[in-house]
């Protein structure tokens, strides 16, 4: 094998291909991430419809494949085969470019998402800055889509969207800064903006940043969690595409494949911002209690989780298979569902192999944490009414922003606590003494 392939393999597990400088393996990682995210979007599509349906006392897709499992594929096929309409009077080039820009912005973010200590395309020393910067480029695509459509509803949707995304980025940035400040409390005293560095700082400080300086980390996380929903235009902040007001907002005039690109972008963006939140506050790829529960026994126990998860999914699938109606009409579906379970078992068995087990662990915990956020997204959508535009702005500027500034300052103070705290206590004691003497006199 050529050396540009093998060289990195010897180093694999210690560094990312980007840092090592191996274009070949970087490309492999890019393809892997792109395929993985696309697959995740497909799964998310099905899961969202199913979970939302069950929250709303209905079944969701049930017809295409067992329990509607093939529905995303059928939808994708339909969208690809649909007529591609460019409305009369639209700016054709900008109309064509807009979904590309959104996709480009969203997928560029994945360059620095650390799925594991070495499982990232690259690691930049300005990682988090890059992520925030690139992901906010998406608003450009939305504005372009709204403008190029030459129609009122998309225009209003785009205006709302740009105002919303710009406003919430401010609060989001402040929350991120407070997490970045926490990284400078390492033993060596230097902070970092690198995504991998941030996770390692949490490992070194023996705590996820969400629990650091309780409740400061929690508040910063909360600000980010709200801002990221607004940033991705999801319920209850889905005003740009508020169907009851603007029919479909900025993508009203889009159809077929182009429309599906917007959807792909939206879901990919949801995963991207969730991965920022996971990295900054929830310990990234780290398993629970990596410091406390270490040692070979715990390592082994935790490394079994991925396989066990898939076995659990398989058990669920087999249970559903057993519950399928016995009528011959459902024979193929029952068989298909069984096969699906078998695939889960197979994946579980593969994940049990020692060689795979060690490498896949970080990715597993990372994805599991993201999945929690994805569930939250669906839950919000099933529960909340939609904010009105002025209320949205009020939440952004009058609640989240002051909170962000407050948390930032308090985090700074808490970081200096060793000196400042003692100084404050001492001075307060002295003042108290003086006051007491004064009163006695």
């Amino acid at each position: 094998m050529p050396s540009f392939i093998t060289d990195y393999l010897q180093k694999a597990g210690q560094t990312t291909p980007g840092q090592y400088g191996s274009p070949f393996w970087a490309l492999v990682y890019i393809l892997l991430v792109f395929a993985g995210v696309s697959l995740a979007v497909v799964c998310m599509n099905w899961l969202e419809r199913k979970i939302l349906a069950h929250m709303q006392v209905r079944l969701g897709p049930m017809r295409v494949g067992p329990h509607g499992l093939l529905q995303p594929i059928a939808d994708a096929l339909k969208l690809i085969l649909k007529e591609d309409i460019i409305p009369e009077g639209a700016d054709t080039f900008v109309f064509w470019l807009a979904p590309m820009i959104i996709l480009l912005a969203v997928f560029s973010v994945y360059c620095v998402v650390p799925f594991g200590p070495a499982h990232a395309i690259t690691d930049m020393n300005i990682g988090i800055l890059f992520m925030l910067g690139v992901s906010s480029l998406g608003v450009l695509g939305i504005v372009m889509a709204g403008w190029a459509s030459n129609s009122h509803y998309p225009l209003i949707g785009a205006l709302r969207s740009s105002a919303q995304m710009v406003s919430y980025e401010v609060a989001m940035g402040l929350a991120v800064v407070s997490a970045v400040m926490m990284t400078s409390l390492d033993a060596d005293g230097t902070g970092t903006l690198s995504m991998i560095g941030i996770v390692e700082a949490q490992y070194a400080q023996h705590t996820w940043f969400i629990f650091k300086f309780f409740p400061l980390g929690l508040i910063a996380f909360f600000i980010f969690a709200v801002a990221m929903v607004a940033e991705t235009n999801r319920a209850p902040f889905d005003l740009p595409e508020a169907e009851s007001e603007l029919t479909a907002g900025f993508h009203t005039e889009y159809s077929g494949l182009r429309w599906s690109l917007f959807m792909l972008g939206e879901y990919a963006a949801m995963i991207a911002v969730s991965s920022i939140a996971v990295t900054l506050w929830l310990g990234g790829w780290m398993r629970p209690f990596p410091n406390l529960l270490n040692g070979p026994t715990w390592d082994l126990a935790f490394s079994l989780f991925p396989a066990l998860t898939f076995f659990g999914l398989a058990a669920l699938t087999f249970y559903s298979t057993a519950r399928m109606p016995k009528h011959s009409y459902f024979r193929i579906q029952t068989f298909g569902l069984g096969a699906f379970g078998a695939v889960f078992v197979l994946i579980g068995v593969i994940l049990l192999l020692p060689a795979v087990r060690g490498r896949i662990q970080d990715v597993y915990w990372f994805i599991l944490k993201i999945a929690v956020f994805m569930y939250l997204y669906i839950w919000y959508r099933g529960t909340f009414p939609r904010y009105r535009f002025d209320q949205l702005m009020k939440v952004g500027w009058k609640i989240l922003l002051p909170m962000g500034i407050g948390v930032l300052m308090l985090t700074g103070l808490a970081g200096l606590r060793t000196e400042v705290w003692h100084f404050t206590v001492r001075s307060a004691g002295e003042v108290w003494d003086v006051f007491r003497q004064l009163v006695h006199i």
């Binding site: 006392v57 009122h152 009851s244 009414p385």
Partner: protein
């Protein structure tokens, strides 16, 4: 249908002396194909950014000439047509029409028929309010209540189906009473439904009443004063939410309503939130009425003696009832023949819709949607 040109002139759009700097107004055409205009309502909005400067409703997309059809049908033949006006509260429509013709003919429906009428009409009121709640919440962005309300509305429709075979356009009543005797187990079904739906109403309230976003979206939105309501002829829950205790079931009792004990829920602020609370309270009051009616339903004939060929004496009559959406009135002119000379319907939706402009001025686009939802219009009734 209003011509677009006249619309433009009414909204002061064609003023030639406007400069470029004044050109910050946007005309947005909402509907008739729009997910939140509850059918084929077309609203032309004049916007300054997101703020609504004025609006005009363009109606008539669902006009079927129901009133004209009546002039070529006998009194009996026209009865099913009224169900097609407010199709989510078809039973109320039928009740109003039947009672108006009965008044004209000087017959009285027997007691038992009146009780059955009350039970079915009140069930229909709950169904109508449930549909309103679901779609109104969906307009404001809460998807889930829609499915809950439709799930529970189904039980009402099942009772209708068992009683008369139809679920939506029921044609439940006949002139002079009801055609069908209640089916076996009707009372049991109704009682079961009352017990079933009372906690469900609490469930809807749990989702919305104290939900911060819901309260923010509805409080002080689409405010209309009692004076304006009366001036515009607005009736029903919209009027009551503005603080006017006006309910035809109490003020001029028809059917068997005088025999039941219930309250007229009212609000104070006349905003969307109060209208929501009033309708929720009305559902509970309806349950009270149904419970009382089904407990004390008398035995006896269900149909009065009605001539085979109905020839009312020459004259005119106006009879109105409290439909779920407001005062539903029928004005019938008889020339002594078998067919009415003229029927004019006073539909609550049409009259209430006239308040839309007043309620939306100075609000945001999102509020227009909320206000259309809270007015609870049915385009079949607006256009007839």
């Amino acid at each position: 249908m209003t011509e677009p040109t006249s619309t433009a002139s009414q909204l002061d759009l064609d003023e030639s002396n406007k400069t470029y700097l004044d050109a910050n107004e946007l005309i947005l055409n909402m509907g008739p194909q729009h997910p939140a205009t509850h059918g084929v309502l077309r609203v032309i909005l004049k916007l300054d950014g997101e703020k609504v400067l004025g609006l005009e409703c363009v109606i008539g997309y669902l006009h079927r000439g129901v009133e004209k059809i009546a002039e070529n049908r006998t009194y009996t033949m026209f009865n099913p047509y009224v169900d097609r006006m407010d199709y989510v509260a078809a039973v109320s429509n039928g009740l109003g029409y039947c009672e108006a013709v009965e008044k004209l003919l000087n017959i009285e429906a027997p007691d038992r028929a009146n009780y059955v009428r009350v039970i079915l009409t009140e069930l229909n009121r709950i169904a109508s309010h449930q549909l309103w709640l679901g779609t109104h919440a969906l307009d404001i962005g809460a998807m889930t209540p829609l499915f809950y309300t439709f799930r529970d509305r189904e039980e009402i429709l099942k009772i209708f189906e068992k009683y008369c075979g139809a679920r939506l356009t029921t044609h439940a009543f006949r002139i002079g009473g009801c055609q069908y005797e209640t089916y076996e187990g009707f009372e049991k079904d109704v009682k079961k439904f009352v017990a079933f739906v009372a906690p469900k109403i609490d469930e809807y309230e749990e989702l919305l009443t104290t939900n911060r976003i819901w309260v923010e979206r509805t409080k002080n939105v689409g405010v209309i004063s009692a004076k304006d309501c009366i001036g515009l002829g607005v009736t029903g829950p919209v009027l009551r939410a503005s603080g006017v205790k006006w309910d035809l079931r109490k003020k001029q009792p028809y059917a068997a309503y005088s025999k039941f004990d219930f309250e007229i829920p009212t609000g104070q602020n006349g905003d969307t939130y109060d209208r929501y609370l009033v309708r929720m309270a009305e559902m509970r009051q309806s349950l009270r009425i149904i419970q009382q009616a089904v407990d004390s339903i008398p035995e006896g004939p269900i149909m009065a003696k009605v001539p085979k060929v109905m020839k009312p004496p020459v004259g005119e009559i106006y009879h109105s009832i409290e439909a779920p959406k407001g005062e539903l009135g029928y004005f019938i002119v008889s020339d002594g023949s078998t067919q009415p000379y003229r029927i004019r319907v006073r539909p609550p939706s049409f009259v209430n819709l006239q308040a839309l402009d007043l309620m939306c001025r100075g609000q945001l686009i999102a509020d227009v949607i909320a206000v259309i939802g809270t007015l609870d219009i049915v385009l079949g009734e607006v256009d007839r």
